[in-house]
């Protein structure tokens, strides 16, 4: 790219921004001048329509196209639901379905439990801020970055060579043989899940810590006067008090986990029986040249995420009603 080309590009950006501003300005002007009689209606249309149109172009249309595409094979012949039959019968895709289930069960539970325990232990301690920042830090690292870090943790070198992976170094210190962690089926899926848990625990901890602080002190004190021990207070006062936040945390992490792709692709590329739905979807659509199968997997993923999203929204709405 030369300077002239760059200037040209900048000019284009400026023109585009100006055009955008002009359109918005015109729209606002027209809405303002709308006939008095049905002003509300015009205002509604004027403000909702742009978002609505973008939503249709960017979400509804692709969703419909994906659904249609899932009924065709690579050559463009209509094959009905064969792609879905394939998804539920091929060993390859069955493995990714199974792994997705393992991911979606283990990750939210582990992240939430660890995050909650941590939040409770550091609650009102000295330096709470710093302890929190420490665990929250991984949230700031991208999935690919985290995967590369953990790939080094799991790195394998033969016994004769110097270990560069911390995990195998520990094993060697303890007198063991280095292990190919990422190739050890089926434990390798768990090693990948640990990366996700490492990232998501910070999120769970921060949200739950805030919720714990929201539990009214009067109730805690009343329970204390009633002679409860710490465990009973936690189980019967804190937990019911933060129930709403717990649900939000679990569902949010579940949704993120269902869509997990970066970690698997970076660390094993789906080899060694570690593939998950999103990874298999990408592989089929873009590498194997089978967009129909990729679309079918995308739809399955969509159907799996949908109930969790609906549940999440309903819980949030109920909470708002209580407040």
């Amino acid at each position: 790219m030369t300077t002239a080309e760059l200037l040209n590009k900048i000019e284009q950006v400026v023109i585009a921004l100006a055009a955008f501003a002009a359109v918005i300005g015109l729209l606002l002007f027209l809405i303002d001048r709308a006939p008095k009689k049905r002003k509300d209606f015009f205002q509604l249309v004027g403000f909702v329509a742009p978002a609505f149109i973008i939503l249709i172009i960017g979400l509804v249309y692709p969703a419909i196209r994906t659904a249609i595409q899932s009924l065709y094979d690579a050559k463009g012949n209509f094959i009905g639901f064969d792609n879905f039959v394939w998804a539920f019968t091929q060993p390859d895709s069955l493995v990714s379905l199974r792994n997705t289930v393992i991911w979606v069960i283990l990750t939210p539970i582990l992240s939430t439990v660890i995050g909650l325990a941590y939040a409770v232990f550091i609650d009102k301690s000295r330096g709470e801020k710093y302890f929190k920042a420490l665990v929250f830090m991984p949230m700031a690292i991208s999935f690919v970055g985290a995967s590369i870090i953990w790939k080094f943790v799991y790195e394998y070198r033969p016994t004769s060579a110097n270990q560069i992976g911390i995990l195998n170094q520990v094993v060697v210190w303890l007198g063991g043989e280095p292990v190919q962690w990422l190739q050890a089926v089926p434990a390798n899926t768990v090693f990948l899940i640990i990366v996700m848990v490492w990232i998501q625990t910070g999120f769970a901890m921060v949200v739950l810590s805030a919720a714990i602080k929201g539990v009214p002190t009067e109730i805690v004190e009343a329970a204390q006067l009633d002679g409860t021990n710490a465990w009973q207070r936690f189980l019967h006062v804190t937990i019911p008090g933060i129930q709403g936040s717990l649900v939000v945390v679990v569902t949010t992490i579940s949704i993120a986990t269902l869509k997990v792709f970066d970690i698997v692709r970076t660390m094993t590329a789906g080899n060694f029986d570690t593939s998950v739905l999103a990874n298999e979807m990408y592989t089929q659509a873009f590498r194997a040249g089978e967009p129909g199968r990729g679309s079918a997997l995308a739809l399955i993923l969509f159907v799996l995420v949908l109930p969790i999203v609906i549940y999440n929204v309903r819980v949030l709405r109920k909470q708002r009603e209580i407040r």
């Binding site: 900048i10 390859d92 190739q183 590329a269 592989t283």
Partner: protein, 450 residues
């Protein structure tokens, strides 16, 4: 902090200025080259004619970075003498983007296809124009019939070959071989017995290998299998295998898996410098050969382009630190058969200047120009092997030009993507990780599109 009105303007302005400054750093301004349009030295280019009005020909391909610069360098004289400007654009997303551009009505004039299959699908879409007679004449004169078929779809010739690579080299240390009295094998059986001998001597593991390559993990293993199939069962079986007439589960294919498996899945034979058999999957293909330099492993199977992977200062020569011998034929003195890769140049439009460029790229003149710059080879018969920059490249060119050599394109590039760039790779990874040949070949066969 309260922000004054002046500051409110200055801060974003400063931001914009900073961004603009930073972006200027990204531009690659080069001083315009002095255009000494001397007609001297243009005798070779007289046949291509001279064009007025400086027409431009756009070329799109997968070649990027240094190799793209070298490509541009290979036609500077041509541009000077003919008045045609060639604008080359390289992209690693070529394989998907070329579809998008062709369908969107925005194709380049010429495209450099790295796989015959992709060219064929573009031809099927009706996008590729048949080249002028001068291009076909060049191909008939400069390339073997094998090569012409890779640019031919359903009997019609569409694209001329460009560059090439030879797969199936076995890298070794000449000094290590000499010190231990090992000789280069001339048959596959001798390769097996050499392997056994090195293992029995117990100094090093005979082989090292690395199949890890991100999402393409496993491909070096598919090359192993392809080389073995071509040598054991011949070109006809190989061709039928790429079109699914011979199945993966066929004994002629499983025989190749067994041969390679005897080496790669035998803990006594691998993986020099890296560990046990499964370490093949965790070692990147770039690292795979490095233990040869430390005398930790004796041999490694990889294409001619592995030459670029040796660390700086390594002498690649028959009497140097490392060198490669070609995987031997099945029987002694048998006809040499090699697998490899290459590019095909297809045209999306027709015009006199495009024809001129296409003719030039298929000429011996271009091949000599490009190979002299270094780094690549070509199967062009008009190419003088001595123009190549390294002994191995000279060797590879001689093999490609030898009329007795059977050349076959990398089979996984010819198979449908669902197999050639997915299940074959994955199958090899599982195979190294412990699955048996029967399971793996059945799996790969089951993914062949119906």
């Amino acid at each position: 902090m309260r922000i004054t009105r002046a500051k409110r303007v200055i801060i974003p302005l400063a931001g914009v200025a900073a961004v603009a400054l930073a972006l200027t750093g990204c531009t690659g301004d080069t001083p315009a080259s002095s255009s000494g349009t001397a007609a001297a030295g243009c005798e070779d280019y007289a046949d291509y004619g001279t064009f007025t009005g400086s027409p431009t020909v756009n070329i799109y391909g997968t070649i990027v970075d240094v190799e793209a610069d070298q490509l541009n360098q290979s036609w500077t004289d041509f541009e000077k003498c003919t008045g045609i400007t060639i604008k080359y654009e390289g992209s690693q997303e070529f394989e998907t983007q070329i579809n998008v551009r062709a369908q969107g009505g925005n194709p380049p004039d010429l495209a450099i296809f790295p796989q015959p299959g992709l060219l064929a699908s573009m031809v099927a879409g009706g996008y590729i124009k048949t080249p002028a007679q001068s291009v076909e004449d060049n191909v008939d004169k400069n390339w073997s019939a094998d090569w012409k078929t890779y640019g031919t779809v359903d009997g019609t010739f569409y694209a001329a070959p460009l560059m090439a690579s030879v797969k199936g080299y076995i890298w070794y240390s000449p000094a290590f071989f000499k010190d231990n009295g090992y000789t280069i094998p001339t048959t596959l059986d001798e390769l097996t017995s050499l392997t056994a001998k090195i293992a029995a001597d117990g100094k090093v593991k005979p082989w090292c290998a690395g199949f890890s390559s991100g999402e393409a993990s496993g491909w070096p293993g598919t090359d192993w299998i392809e080389d073995t199939v071509l040598r054991q069962s011949g070109a006809q079986v190989y061709d039928d295998w790429t079109t699914n007439k011979v199945k993966f589960t066929d004994p002629q294919i499983t025989k190749a898996f067994d041969y390679v498996g005897n080496i790669l899945k035998n803990p006594a034979y691998v993986n020099g410098g890296f560990g046990d058999v499964t370490s093949i999957n965790s070692t990147t293909f770039q690292d795979a050969g490095l233990p040869i330099l430390q005398d930790q492993c004796a041999m490694m199977h990889q294409a001619s382009f592995y030459e670029a992977q040796w660390p700086e200062g390594t002498t690649v020569a028959p009497d140097g630190d490392v060198y490669g011998f070609l995987m031997p034929p099945a029987t002694a003195g048998g006809q040499q058969a090699v697998t490899g890769g290459g590019e095909m140049v297809g045209a999306f439009k027709t015009s006199d200047e495009i024809t001129a460029v296409q003719t030039y790229l298929s000429s011996a003149l271009w091949a000599n120009n490009r190979v002299s710059i270094g780094g690549v080879i070509s199967a062009n018969k008009g190419l003088d092997p001595n123009n190549a920059k390294s002994p191995l490249a000279v060797d590879s060119i001689k093999i490609l030009q030898d009329p007795n050599t059977t050349f076959r394109f990398d089979a996984s590039d010819l198979m449908p993507a669902a197999v050639g760039s997915n299940s074959f790779w994955k199958g090899i990874v599982n195979w190294i990780n412990g699955d048996d040949t029967q399971t793996v070949t059945t799996f790969i066969q089951s993914t062949w599109p119906q």
